[in-house]
Symmetry: C2
Subunit: 135 residues, 2 copies
Amino acid sequence: MKKIDILKKLRSSSLRPTKQRVEIAKFLFEREKTFHFTVESLNKLLIKKSTSKIALATIYNTVHAFKAAGHLNEVEVRGNKTYFDTNVSNHHHFYDSETSELIDIDANDVVIQKIPKAPNGKKIKNVEVFINLKN
Amino acid sequence: MKKIDILKKLRSSSLRPTKQRVEIAKFLFEREKTFHFTVESLNKLLIKKSTSKIALATIYNTVHAFKAAGHLNEVEVRGNKTYFDTNVSNHHHFYDSETSELIDIDANDVVIQKIPKAPNGKKIKNVEVFINLKN
DNA sequence: TTTTCACTTTAGAATAATTATAAACTAAAA
DNA sequence: TTTTAGTTTATAATTATTCTAAAGTGAAAA
């Protein structure tokens, strides 16, 4: 994803393309593959990668802003860490608690034949499948 | 579940039936229906119900000991709260983020037709389905 | 341009959930 | 009984996250 597209992406979701947001967006979206991270891991990676330090609070703000705009997906797993995922399409996850690793599963690789009706007055927002792994 | 059974349950899993453990176990397991709770909510309920105060750390210890013994199931949902579930059978959950409510879904009410193979060297421990609700 | 102002960033404080510590206590084996 | 390993407890520490309020900054308006 090019810089011009990063700017478009930000502007189209009413996010001012500040220096920090552009830097974080480039880091997250200029890649081929899906990227899973926690705020803490992203912070460490940004410290390594860039010269200018971005405040941790800004990373929290930015990641949540990107999530609200639909550019990131939030995934919560055992062990009280919140992972974010640059893959925002409908998909599922393997979770390997040995390595705390999250692996994408394409939505087409999981077929659910039967699910119950939502309780009265409620609707189904989405269905998330977690396949927990062991050795 | 009778007191004698509570004692058996604890002894059979090498948990000394201390005053605190018996009290918590009675509160959790002497009921007809599945019970979902967080450590914090359990603590509040125990304060209301009983005369003797049990330290919060003991409730954490006890709940985790019961979980390790397979008497409780741990369920993690959006919003950084860890729920425990007295239903330890294989089952799934509705999660209503409006009310932070967790509702059991019988394993038979969800039929998965197709799941991917586990990554090499890994095995599938279990499959958890979350159906997120909206209004 | 320059000015203005709402939006952002920032460091540090505050909060919330959980775990660690170490001393006092206790169930049950010897 | 006495002993001992397991347990409880209050409190401190840790971890992840959010709040606060002051300083900074895009971008619209003058």
